[in-house]
């Protein structure tokens, strides 16, 4: 079944298949005639059986037989004799069986069998016997495994018994993805039910680690065991219930007067204040996984002023309208002339009801509370702010100024993590288990190089690091960032076919490293002199160079009233291919990601304050890849110059995004409105769906195949607020 090389057909074989094709053609035309005329006689059924036995892939054939069964059973003259019903279904099973003999990987045939069985007139015992036969002939046929799950559910065979079956199959030949997969399905069920002998979970998982380790060590080149191992690691690492990871504004944050007075001095967030002229500000909740059900009833507000309590929450997802990792709502800013009090506290609570649910159905149940201080709406300040053109050149950025050296200006924003009471023993077993797996992985890799071993080690190290930091942020120096990055670097070289994946992972780890080191650094400083001493000097040095602060610059240009003074995170020229750790960047207003290898900007949609974004000189291949920007309502300055938009004829990301065929989006688009020089602009659909939601002031798009004059005039029409397009002032 497996590992048989394909051979070029001999002339006889070619002749044979030509004859077969001719025979099939005539059968098919007879069959279709019957089908169209709705003839379901015995003779007609025989023709379809012949056709299906010769070509089990003929879906229409199977559907015809379903119709025939329903038609024949519904005839009044047959009057529901049980013998007759049984014989009809028995015949269907016979046809499926001979079709499966022809190709027992035929989807249509297996599906038809399921359909027959679901009617409840056939013996499941017989099916099980048949399956045992099939699964002995080809132990890895996933169709048979699939069908087995269907039958065992129908027969209510206990999961323990099926688990033993997978053990037997794996013992026979452990190179069996289907068996490992079924094992994970069955165990998930048993662990969830806490079935007898399958509790505690820790004991069972430890046994499973040992079991699969035999496969990994015996033949590390075989990937099936590694996949099961990955599932085990996931079971060990993942926290069942969703958690609130971060928020904007963070807890205890005073928007009018951040506690850290240096912020005011430096004016980093002057632009934030500037944005308040709209009278609203965004409140973002970032969860550990995608959740649904964030609404006015599941998240409650308490405020000393009159806020609109029936708030609308929007999921920040480009392709899912009910489920997202980040959710946003917009709060009113109290509009009063009196200058006292300076700011009002707003208390946001969630977890009091079970309405917020993860995609796996587990509710958010942790009671959390965030208090933020909302400034008063200063309508005078909002007036007259004029923006000059943003230039992303190095001259316009300077290192953070001296006042900041005493205390980290990022302090207040970096402590975004929701502090919760952590039971120090909570993850003891998990951390030990992962540490143990790391040791085994290292041992294996000390003998020879296995790509999947390296990948697993990198994943394990990151998982272990995350656990250690979660338990006690002091243990940050135990995270082996350098080793993980080195592992991915060598994987990129060893396995060029999958280098894109490794580059993505590399980017995520890199960003995590940057942010985690900063958190530690800022915490250390924030706790004052005493805690400063406790942090090893080498870590201080390393973090001050490599941490986020090392990538932070202040924007300065000649005009004092523009974005000048704004804090910019400059992550350019870092070979990043993906964006991660977004939960730590919710406060960002200015982001420079130029000169990287980004193909996608997934995750960026959660940065609701983002106003200035530089994506120039990346590998963005289409406007659909920029879809997350649609959700960034604050975005005013965008540089997507020198990318690959329009260079690829096939947009591989298209299937993920909203389609022009969808009735929910874009039905209001009037093509005529944007007609340029009598040319149709229907092929600018993606650009339209992206830009029509944005209020851009400045856009750079030069250096993309799509950016010709015609397109630019289209943009000009589409974006009336645009002041600069590729540096040219628009009137």
């Amino acid at each position: 079944m497996h590992g048989r090389p394909r051979k070029a057909p001999t002339p006889e074989e070619q002749r044979g298949s030509a004859e077969k094709a001719a025979k099939l053609c005539s059968l098919q035309s007879q069959f279709l005639q019957n089908h169209h005329s709705k003839i379901y006689t015995k003779e007609a059924l025989e023709i379809s059986a012949k056709l299906l036995e010769a070509n089990p892939e003929h879906y229409t054939g199977w559907n015809y037989r379903k119709l025939a069964v329903e038609h024949n059973l519904g005839r009044p003259e047959e009057a529901a004799g049980s013998d007759f019903i049984d014989s009809v279904f028995a015949e269907e099973l016979r046809v499926v069986e001979s079709a499966l003999k022809m190709n027992y990987k035929s989807y249509g045939a297996w599906h038809h069998r399921k359909w027959v069985l679901s009617k409840g007139h056939s013996s499941t015992d017989r099916e099980l016997r048949l399956l045992n036969l099939y699964q002995r002939q080809d132990t890895r046929n996933f169709h048979a495994w699939n069908y087995r799950r269907f039958i065992t559910a129908l027969k209510s065979i206990p999961a323990e018994q099926e688990l033993q079956f997978t053990t037997d199959m794996i013992n026979e030949n452990f190179s069996n993805y289907s068996a490992w997969h079924n094992r994970s399905v069955l165990l998930s069920h048993l662990l969830k039910e806490k079935a007898q002998g399958y509790f505690p979970k820790e004991k069972i998982l430890s046994e499973e680690y040992e079991f699969v380790r035999n496969a990994l060590f015996t033949d590390p080149d075989d990937q099936s065991g590694w996949f099961y191992h990955l599932w085990l690691v996931d079971q060990t690492v993942k926290v069942d219930a969703p958690m609130l990871v971060s928020s904007w504004p963070p807890h205890d944050y005073d928007l009018s007067n951040p506690k850290d007075c240096t912020l005011d001095d430096c004016g980093f967030f002057s632009y934030t204040t500037f944005k308040y002229h709209t009278g609203k500000f965004p409140l973002v909740l970032y969860f550990s996984e995608a959740v649904e059900g964030v609404s006015a009833s599941t998240v409650t507000f308490e405020a000393e002023y009159d806020i609109d309590t029936i708030l609308t929450w929007t999921p920040l997802s480009t392709y899912n309208s009910v489920c997202a990792q980040a959710w946003v709502t917009h709060l009113n800013i109290p509009d009063r002339k009196i200058n006292f009090p300076k700011a009002y506290p707003v208390k946001v609570s969630l977890g009091h009801s079970q309405g917020i649910i993860s995609s796996s159905g587990i509710p958010y149940s942790h009671r959390s509370c965030i208090t933020v201080y909302i400034p008063l709406h200063d309508s005078q300040k909002a007036e007259g702010q004029k923006l000059e053109r943003i230039l992303w050149t190095d001259e316009n950025f300077c290192n953070l100024e001296t006042p900041c050296q005493k205390s980290n200006p990022l302090n207040s924003v970096l402590q975004l993590r929701i502090k919760e009471e952590i039971d120090p023993t909570a993850f003891k077993w998990n951390a030990e288990t992962i540490a143990n797996e790391i040791a085994h992985c290292r041992e294996l890799l000390s003998w020879s190089t296995w790509k999947i071993g390296k990948l697993t080690l990198a994943r394990l190290l990151m998982a272990h690091g995350a656990m250690m930091v979660f338990n006690s942020p002091d243990s940050l120096n135990m995270v082996h960032f350098a080793e993980v990055l080195e592992l991915y670097r060598s994987l990129i070289e060893l396995d060029p076919t999958h280098s894109q994946y490794y580059k993505d992972e590399y980017s995520l780890v890199f960003l995590k490293k940057v942010i985690l080191l900063s958190v530690n650094y800022s915490c250390g400083v924030g706790w004052g002199e005493a805690s400063l001493i406790s942090i090893p000097t080498n870590l201080m040095v390393a973090s001050s160079i490599e941490s986020l602060l090392g990538y932070c610059r202040q924007y300065r240009d000649s005009t004092p009233l523009s974005a000048s003074g704004c804090l910019c995170l400059r992550l350019s020229n870092l070979s990043l291919s993906r964006i991660g750790s977004v939960e730590n960047f919710l406060w960002l207003q200015m982001l420079d990601l130029s000169h990287n290898q980004l193909r996608s900007i997934e995750g960026l949609e959660a940065m609701q304050l983002l106003s200035f974004l530089n994506l120039s000189n990346n590998k963005i291949g289409s406007f659909t890849a920029l879809d997350p920007l649609r959700l960034l309502k604050s975005l005013e300055v965008l540089d997507i110059s020198y990318n690959e938009i329009g260079s690829h004829t096939v947009d591989t990301r298209r299937y993920l995004c909203t389609s022009p065929l969808s009735h929910t989006v874009g039905s209001d688009w009037n093509f005529e409105e944007f007609r340029i020089c009598n040319d149709s602009v229907t092929n600018y659909w993606e650009a339209f769906s992206l830009f029509r939601d944005l209020n851009l002031i400045q856009l750079d798009i030069v250096g993309n195949a799509v950016a010709d004059d015609k397109f630019k005039s289209f943009l000009h029409k589409l974006l009336p607020g645009l002041k600069w397009l590729d540096g040219e002032v628009l009137l």
């Binding site: 026979e172 030949n173 015996t218 033949d219 041992e443 294996l444 003998w447």
Partner: protein, 523 residues
């Protein structure tokens, strides 16, 4: 016994003895259309390859341990005859026979089918199995899989299963993860080597081992892979089935890498060759004695004439040239043939074998089963319990130095249970064997193996075994009911016959006679 007259009196071939090699030749010659007479002095088929009831076995071994009583040497034939009679002497193939019964009640002799020359198993992919399939003899026999292989662990004194396949390595509980990885690497290396050798272009992952390396000792090759002794020992003795200690400086029979790899490949192609046999090894139902019988049956179907209980007393030689003419039977009848095959217990008379050289050089008319330097020590044990719980048949290897430091030879022990119809139900038969230089060494090898694997009751108190078992609660050794140890001379057939005739239709060459008998003696 009524003296029957055999008709006709002239044959293409006369074969004396119905042992396995003789039977194969008789069947092959008959299949090739030759007229064949097959004689045996015994009342049963199989000669030294038969399976016998308990008492018959001991009496046969005893009788074959004595040299035949010297009768009158070559006596001239009556006048007028054109040939002389040369008396045919036999030599004892067995020696140092030692039989002990520990059972209180006598064992039911008739319920046993004990192999004279065990242990003998087949690799599923063995050319002998191909021979049986091609010759059609497989239809007269039924084989069963040997359930498991074990290797004696000198440290624990217990038996570890031989991790002989990918899934066996996976399941094994005695190997460390490191050892699992190393053993599998060797298997993959071998597989890769043969894959590359098999295909013209080397696009697979395999890497061919250099010609130079192939000529080097296999033990050295394994050493260079930095395998621990334990893994090396499993590969050399339990999979490649080496006899001599391969780590000795002056190894008598150092396995070359080339041959070692071939043996590993044979083992691996045996695993799963037949859908009903999961392991690598086969054993016939009713014992090894079925094999020569099956070939005799095949020969008889093809027209071979069989006469049992008919000893051959003398060879007839041409008076002038001294070359072979025929045989003189115990009945007094004289029969003539172009060629003769004698079983290995005969001493081929010197004058006939040596002179005149011209006639024998060109075509050998008399084929004796030449003896080879060396002996094999054999043992048979009977118990009421298995060496391993829930295992009915298995092969146990005691590698060199596993039993005692001076042990130079590997010892093989085959356990067969009543489900192969060789003993009464509830009992187990064990066949032990080891190559040896002399009887003393052979006896030491087998006796140490027996005392290591079994609990041997002290004579006089046959049933009093409870004391030893309670002391040794970790490993419950089977208690010996009956045991026999003897030394057999190694014999092999090396001559080719009928080089122009096909050796069974569809068979490649007559070389296989050589191969088969060779392999039979090895295992």
């Amino acid at each position: 016994m009524e003296e029957a007259i055999i008709e006709p009196t002239t044959f293409d071939l006369i074969v004396v003895g119905t042992g396995l090699p003789e039977s194969v030749i008789a069947a092959a010659a008959s299949s090739a259309g030759k007229t064949v007479l097959h004689l045996d002095p015994n009342p049963f088929y199989g000669g030294h390859f038969s399976s016998l009831p308990l008492h018959d076995l001991t009496s046969f071994l005893a009788s074959q341990s004595q040299p035949s009583d010297a009768r009158c040497p070559s006596s001239p034939q009556p006048d007028g005859s054109d040939h002389t009679s040369v008396h045919l002497a036999t030599r004892p193939l067995y020696s140092a026979l030692n039989v002990t019964s520990y059972s209180a009640e006598p064992l039911e002799s008739r319920k046993f089918n004990l192999d004279l020359a065990g242990p003998r198993v087949f690799f599923c992919a063995d050319s002998a199995v191909d021979l049986m399939l091609k010759s059609g003899t497989n239809q007269y026999m039924e084989f069963k899989n040997v359930d498991a292989s074990f290797v004696f662990d000198k440290n624990s004194g217990g038996l570890n299963s031989v991790p002989d396949s990918r899934s066996a390595i996976f399941k094994d509980t005695s190997l460390s993860y490191r050892e699992k990885n190393q053993l599998m690497s060797v298997f993959k290396l071998v597989q890769g080597h043969f894959e590359v050798a098999g295909s013209a272009e080397s696009d697979g992952g395999g890497r061919r081992i250099s010609r130079e390396d192939l000529q080097r000792p296999f033990a050295e090759f394994l050493n260079r892979m930095q395998l621990p002794q334990k893994i090396k020992s499993i590969i050399l003795y339990a999979i490649a089935m080496a006899d001599y200690d391969q780590d000795l400086e002056a190894c008598k029979d150092a396995l070359k890498t080339e041959d070692g790899l071939d043996r590993l490949a044979l083992y691996h192609s045996s695993v799963g060759r037949f859908p009903t046999a999961l392991g690598a090894l086969l054993y016939p139902l009713y014992g090894q004695g079925e094999l020569p019988q099956a070939f005799c049956r095949r020969a008889a179907v093809k027209g071979c004439l069989y006469v049992l209980r008919m000893p051959v007393l003398a060879l007839l030689a041409d008076k002038d040239t001294g070359s072979y003419k025929g045989v003189k039977l115990a009945s007094g009848q004289e029969l003539f043939s172009h060629r003769l095959v004698l079983d290995p217990s005969f001493k081929v008379p010197l004058p006939l074998a040596n002179s005149p050289p011209a006639s024998l050089q060109n075509s050998s008319h008399v084929v004796g089963l030449r003896d080879v330097q060396g002996k094999v020590a054999r043992g048979i044990c009977i118990t009421r319990s298995s060496l391993k719980p829930n295992v009915s048949s298995c092969l146990v290897i005691c590698p060199p130095r596993s039993l005692y430091p001076e042990q130079v030879m590997a010892i093989r022990v085959l356990q067969i249970s009543s489900n192969l119809a060789v003993c009464p139900s509830g009992m187990f038969v064990f066949y032990l064997s080891a190559l040896c230089e002399d009887a003393v060494e052979g006896k030491q090898l087998l006796e140490t193996a027996i005392s290591s694997l079994f609990s041997v009751p002290t004579s006089g108190s046959p049933e009093d075994t409870s004391a030893e078992q309670s002391e040794n609660t970790e490993v419950l050794k089977p208690t010996l009911l009956w045991g026999a140890v003897y030394i057999q001379e190694l014999t092999m057939l090396f001559q080719k016959m009928y080089p122009d005739e096909e050796f069974f239709p569809n068979t490649a060459s007559s070389d296989q006679i050589e191969d088969d008998s060779g392999l039979d003696h090895e295992t």
